[in-house]
């Protein structure tokens, strides 16, 4: 009996009991489907976070006020330790050789209204350096100018998502007036979308001159962060150290472990985010793997029932000359057909599900070929693994015992 015939015969046998075959396949479909869907969901999340972080700008170093590790004490004042003077010093000091440009920033969230529309939008007080360091591209109009900062001008540059919130009718925001915490600002520019979604969106944002944010809107004189661009990606670590020691000296702190600021590089943020989403992906894959295992046990169960139910048939086949190997192959082929069919349907279902998720959550749609390959291998493997025992049992039935079986 050649392979094609065996395949046809197994296929025939499986179609004789459609409900049972369907149920057996269902377990594998759900298992493989959830592996594909969850892995691609994890990867989409990971990629979108990475994209978002990378879109913040290459060679980026960020100083945030606040201690890295100060034991159990974390004082409120530690958040105001970073000042514009620090930023200026870093930008102008001859000691600093690795930094190309410095962007002092003050960001907060505020209620913004325009006509009848309002939204809670991220407000960033910025200087012109922000544009280059964060790789912002202007769609229309201009960004914050040096003159705006020095004159505390009430002008604003708006991100596309914020624009959509405040001007839902699609009219051009340029020249329009908005009210941020009750203060009137005139829109002078609109940025190009940077993508990304969820928290920390680069598009749901309004830029105002740094001086206006500090003095007009939030009444503060400290900075919430200083972004710096290193001269190249090779000097990131050097820059981190250089600026770190410079600031420690400026803040008169001798013990580096008691620093009142943290300097994060792009790589730090990326690896932190990656490890978080990596854990997330692993967790999801684990859940999916369990359902795959349950599906495999389902297959084994069905195959064992089949062996018992077909005892007479197996006995007959052996009486007519079927060898052990023939019976094993027949039963293995059946279970592999089950898992393979389940695998293919599962892959289709998984891809469909991840597409639906990506549409609903407006996130990326990523299906990695490796997860499909893995699903294929795993489903065939499960067929062999969980089909082996029933097949073995079937093949070792003695023909007389089997023929007698009622």
């Amino acid at each position: 009996m050649n392979f094609i015939e065996l395949l046809l015969e197994s296929f025939n046998t499986l179609t004789l009991n459609k409900v049972r075959t369907g149920l057996a396949i269902l377990g594998i479909v759900i298992g493989i489907g959830s592996v594909i869907a969850l892995v691609s969901l994890g990867q989409a999340t990971q990629t979108s976070i990475q994209n978002q972080i990378q879109s913040l700008g290459a060679n980026l170093l960020t100083i945030n006020p606040g201690a890295q590790r100060t034991g159990n004490v974390r004082t409120a004042t530690s958040n105001t330790t970073l000042t514009e003077a620090d930023a200026t010093a870093i930008a102008t000091s001859p000691q600093i050789t690795t930094i190309a440009s410095v962007s002092p920033e003050f960001s907060s969230r505020a209620q913004v209204t325009a006509g009848g529309n309002n939204g809670n939008i991220s407000i960033v007080g910025a200087t012109p350096a922000y544009l280059t360091i964060h790789k912002i591209t202007m769609d229309t109009g201009v960004f914050i100018q040096d003159s705006d900062v020095s004159s505390i001008a009430r002008v604003a540059v708006i991100g596309p998502q914020a624009a959509a919130t405040l001007f839902p009718d699609g009219s051009s925001p340029l020249g329009q007036q908005i009210r941020i915490t009750g203060q009137t600002f005139t829109i002078v520019g609109v940025t190009v979308t940077k993508g990304g979604s969820g928290f920390g969106s680069q598009d749901n944002i309004i830029f105002v001159p740094l001086s206006a944010a500090q003095k007009v809107l939030f009444g503060a004189d400290h900075l919430t962060s200083v972004a710096m661009e290193a001269k190249s990606s090779d000097v990131m670590t050097a820059a981190q150290n250089e600026v770190g020691y410079f600031l420690l000296a400026r803040h008169k702190i001798t013990d580096p472990t008691k620093a009142d600021f943290t300097i994060m590089s792009q790589a730090d943020i990326l690896s932190a985010a990656s490890s978080t989403t990596g854990t997330f992906t692993t967790l999801l894959s684990g859940v999916a793997a369990i359902s795959l295992l349950v599906g495999g046990i389902g297959i084994m169960n069905i195959m064992l029932v089949t062996v018992t139910e077909r005892t007479r048939e197996i006995g007959l086949r052996k009486a007519l000359g079927a060898k052990k190997k023939t019976i094993i192959t027949q039963f293995l082929t059946e279970s592999i057909i089950l898992t393979f069919t389940g695998g293919i349907i599962g892959i289709a279902l998984g891809i469909f599900t991840s597409y639906i998720i990506s549409v609903v959550s407006s996130s990326l749609f990523i299906v990695s070929p490796s997860s499909i390959l893995l699903a294929f291998v795993v489903s065939a493997g499960i067929g062999i693994l969980f089909g082996w025992y029933p097949a073995q049992r079937a093949s070792s039935l003695q023909p007389i015992e089997a023929l007698r079986y009622e």
């Binding site: 015939e5 023909p399 023929l403």
Partner: protein
């Protein structure tokens, strides 16, 4: 003395003992006989007499506890399960009481099954299967599935299936036990015809009127042969002392 027909079955001192946890059952007790080519033998006996056990050993489905069994020149004693499968495939055509066709499978496929296991090419299988289905009068039922056929028709499919490998013997276990008497006569007529064509047939039965169709009847009781009688009419069968259970004949002659 005319030319001796070939010996198909040579059984010497066959015993079969079943062991359960604390019980020893002797199913066959020192049984010896021989069956020659072209014979039509009925093995009769009440239930529990050991005739099923004997049938299993003749069919190479089971091995005797002691004694030797030579089937068509091959000693069945020390064979593995797979070798036994092969022997059954090539040398024995089984006909069961319960027909034992593959359920919901066409008659053609059922009949082709032993040839599939023997590795016969598909075209050859199709030709052979159709030929034998026509022989048993089912030429118009080639693509019917087994559950669309009557009992008698199913048994005829089983007979066709038993013939396709051109076996040394046809081994029928209560072939008419599950079918209506009118159809049973048809089945026996087919057996008669097959025997006339030269097929060796061994039939297990407990019905005397079915056994009457055979030329020779071996009666078994309590695991022993109690009577071995040959009908006088029809072809003359060479009667040798072996038929009475003497296994003293030299092997050289038995193995052709």
């Amino acid at each position: 003395m005319s030319i001796k027909p070939k010996t198909i079955i040579q059984a010497s001192h066959l015993s079969k003992i079943y062991h359960t946890s604390d019980l020893e059952t002797i199913a066959l007790n020192d049984v010896s006989f021989e069956i020659k080519e072209g014979e039509f033998v009925a093995i009769m006996g009440p239930s529990g007499s050991g005739k099923s056990t004997l049938m299993h050993i003749i069919g190479a489905l089971d091995k005797p506890t002691s004694g030797t069994y030579i089937l068509d020149g091959e000693n069945v004693e020390n064979l593995t399960d797979d070798e036994l499968s092969d022997i059954r495939n090539r040398k024995i055509g089984f006909i069961f009481q319960a027909f034992n066709l593959l359920p919901r499978t066409t008659t053609m496929k059922n009949v082709m099954l032993p040839m599939a296991y023997a590795g016969v090419p598909l075209e050859q299988r199709l030709i052979t299967a159709e030929k034998f289905l026509r022989l048993v009068g089912l030429g118009d039922r080639l693509s019917h599935t087994s559950n669309q056929l009557s009992g008698g028709q199913q048994q005829r499919v089983a007979i066709a299936r038993s013939l396709v490998m051109n076996p040394a013997i046809l081994l029928a276990d209560e072939p008419t036990g599950n079918i209506a008497s009118a159809q049973a006569d048809e089945i026996m007529a087919i057996f008669q015809k097959l025997n006339d064509d030269g097929h060796t047939i061994v039939m297990i039965t407990h019905e005397p009127d079915i056994a009457e169709h055979a030329k020779r009847i071996i009666h078994i009781k309590d695991g022993r042969i109690v009577e071995d009688s040959t009908k006088h009419q029809q072809r003359k069968i060479v009667s040798s002392p072996l038929l009475k259970g003497d296994a003293a004949q030299p092997r050289g002659i038995l193995n052709k």
